[in-house]
Amino acid sequence: MSDASLAPDAAPDRLDRLAPRARLLIAAIAIVAAILTGSLPGLAALLAIAAFLALTATADPRPLVARLAHVEGFLVVALAILPFTTPGTPVVAIGPLAASAEGLRQALTIALRVNACILIVYTFVGALGPVRFARAGGELGLPPRLVALFNLTYRHVELIRGEYLRLAEAMRARAFVPRSRWHTWRSYANLIGMIVVRALDRAERVDEAMRCRAYAGRIAARVAPPPLRRHDRLALAAALALAALVVGLDRLLA
């Protein structure tokens, strides 16, 4: 399907030779390693490895930079107040508030870990694109119904978004400008209600069309995936070894 507007299908990258499920497994190994690593040098090493992989794998690093620049709102809050809420030896004082060394260390730890994980997910999972991701998930044991639901949902997101864009354009044509006021909330609520109504209608039509084609709710049996090839196994082994090394050194030196 065409999905140019919301999420262009992943551009081919240098990791494409790896089987998608191997990429998912490597991401999982790396994230577990990041969670188990507690020291600043260990996390810095992980972040460096993740950044190196991300930069070598992607042809165009610009979307990656944009992704890193966006931090979850609550993380900003947490990182900003951690130094002040963690008891310890004060380093900087702003008025009556004192930032403790322990708190700053905590905030830095979380920031390093979160960014390492974002790089890993971006490189090994995000670049897969939804279609290959769903297949790999199925191969790794996600229930077939869930995989089918994921694929069908992804298939319709762009269509429903088209409905939304048409409705939003109609609102703009009537000089609608969103503000923090009752009229805006009512308009958006009606808009969301209308999206649901149209989705219900579309669901009815799709359901009828599928049953005209003798759909009885059966999902094609899972085809056994081809075995992992040598370079897949090598990459997995390397990921495991590297993760074990970082976590081991982290525990040893801590």
Binding site: A34, F74, A78, I120, V121, L128, V157, I160, R179
Partner: protein
């Protein structure tokens, strides 16, 4: 805002959230008729798209979770719909996290599902205006529940994060307000325009009754 990224929570919290989500998903999928899959998927896509709209609330703007609305309209299917939505966010935009998928699914879908299952049967008998008021309660409470669960996950993860929980909770205030207003108005809209949305059985799951 409700999507906790990878690397914040402790391992036990992640495992607990994952287990809870897996159990809930298994239960919800078992209740789902295979023939209803396309319908559930289309509605899941609709809620996914609707949650991308930025609603201005006071000086800020929020993206709604719509878990309360989902619970009222699609019942048990809320769990897989939220899970799929979170996966799509991870794969399409790189937001959220892999290790936190379970925790985030429980945090976002849990309160909406419980409130939806409890209040949907009442909703069928009410006038659009009263249904809107009840739905506003469901929407606001669902968002507040999500905020509470996010704070709980932080408290359970580490002592230093626990201190940030009250402030994190406070950042949910605009979301609770927006969620209550928009859910209430959207339900009263649906009650007027398409009252059968709130028929005795949640719409997409009723597909199993077809001959």
């Amino acid at each position: 805002m409700a999507h906790i990224p990878d690397g914040v929570l402790s391992l036990p919290v992640l495992v607990a959230g994952g287990t809870l989500a897996a159990g809930g998903l298994a239960l919800a999928l078992r209740r789902l008729d295979d023939r209803a899959l396309p319908k559930v998927a289309i509605l899941a896509a609709a809620f996914f798209v609707a949650s991308l709209i930025a609603i201005p609330i006071g000086p800020t703007s929020v993206h709604l979770l719509l878990a309360g609305l989902m619970g009222l309209v699609i019942g048990w299917a809320t769990l897989p719909a939220v899970f799929v939505g979170l996966l799509l966010q991870t794969v399409m935009f790189g937001f959220g996290g892999l290790s936190t998928l379970g925790v985030n699914t429980v945090n976002i879908a849990g309160p909406g599902l419980v409130l939806g299952l409890a209040l949907a049967p009442v909703l069928t008998r009410l006038s659009p205006a009263r249904a809107g008021l009840l739905a506003a309660l469901a929407g606001g409470l669902a968002a507040a529940g999500t905020g509470g669960l996010v704070a709980l996950a932080l408290v359970a993860s580490s002592k230093s994060l626990a201190a940030t929980a009250p402030i994190v909770l406070a950042t949910y205030l605009p979301l609770v307000v927006g969620e209550a207003i928009v859910t209430g108005l959207a339900v009263s809209f649906l009650k007027r325009v398409r009252p059968e949305t709130f028929a005795a059985a949640p719409a997409p799951l009723a597909a199993g009754v077809h001959p």
